[in-house]
């Protein structure tokens, strides 16, 4: 489908300023998110597997409140679940961000209709769709079995507070974005065909 050898001299590509800005912002946020993720994971790993975190910590599990004065008092299964849940969420965010960064790099280089660009777009669409359906399945399973929230950790002095909400029915935005990326990849494929035809027009 794509001719690999064209030997046609390409004009020097000039990247629009907006694309350059988006590329640098994407790069910055990817590395910033990666560093923060590593710090968060290390912190959670530390307190989940032996470290100490003082302060009143409240868990709402299956509708029952559990209050602890130190994270060390939390049962091991909950600590492990918290670590794995955070690891899963952060790694899925980082992977999607990584593919978007790769896509932006190719756009920055002017390779709009390259096969790699199209593959990156498709991968982002697949990953977002997977995240959406996994959240739906978890939401349905836990709503049916345990009620709407199975995991709600709140550090009452304001730090390290986050909630894992098992229901996902109110987040169709992820699927819409996934579909947009999928459609974009098909539009780019048509663009690649036009580009190939143009390059082979003497």
């Amino acid at each position: 489908m794509f001719v690999k050898k064209t030997n046609i001299k390409m004009e020097k590509h000039h990247t629009p300023r907006s694309i350059r800005l988006i590329y640098f912002i994407t790069n910055f946020f990817f590395w910033f998110t990666s560093i923060i993720s590593v710090i968060v994971l290390c912190l959670i790993g530390y307190i989940a597997f032996g470290g100490s975190l003082y302060g009143e910590i409240s868990f709402n599990i299956f509708g029952t409140d559990h209050v602890y004065q130190n994270f060390n008092e939390v049962p091991a299964s909950l600590k492990a679940g918290l670590f794995m849940g955070t690891l899963t969420v952060l790694s899925s965010v980082l992977i999607i961000f990584f593919y978007f960064k790769r896509f932006m790099k190719l756009v920055y280089e002017g390779r709009y209709f390259d096969l790699k660009t199209i593959k990156n777009l498709k991968m982002i669409a697949y990953l977002l769709t997977a995240v959406f359906f996994i959240k739906i399945i978890i939401g349905i399973a836990t709503s049916v079995l345990y009620g709407p929230e199975i995991f709600d950790t709140t550090h009452l002095d304001g730090s390290l507070a986050f909630t894992i909400d098992a229901t996902s029915f109110d987040r169709p935005g992820i699927l819409i974005i996934a579909l947009i990326f999928w459609v974009l990849s098909h539009i780019f494929m048509e663009g690649a065909k036009l580009k190939e035809a143009n390059e082979l027009t003497i």
Partner: protein
């Protein structure tokens, strides 16, 4: 494709090399090579005009339709 490119035949008749034709027509050797091998998807009229002028021939001397030949 059923369009046969007879560029090498005309080059031989006019005793001209691809490099010389490239300089006269203003098309790169690489692109002329793509045309000669039959890999081109399209030819602009301006390019065809320049080639015919350089080789002193008709478009039909360079382009030939043959429904028995498939280059793909």
């Amino acid at each position: 494709m059923s369009i046969v490119i007879n560029l090498d035949v005309m080059l031989a008749k006019r005793k001209m090399s691809l490099t010389e034709l490239s300089e006269k027509v203003g098309v790169t050797i690489a692109n002329l090579s793509i045309l000669k091998k039959g890999k081109a998807k399209a030819v602009r009229f301006s390019t065809l005009e320049a080639i015919c002028e350089a080789l002193d021939c008709q478009p039909g001397d360079i382009l030939e339709y043959s429904n028995s030949v498939t280059n793909d």
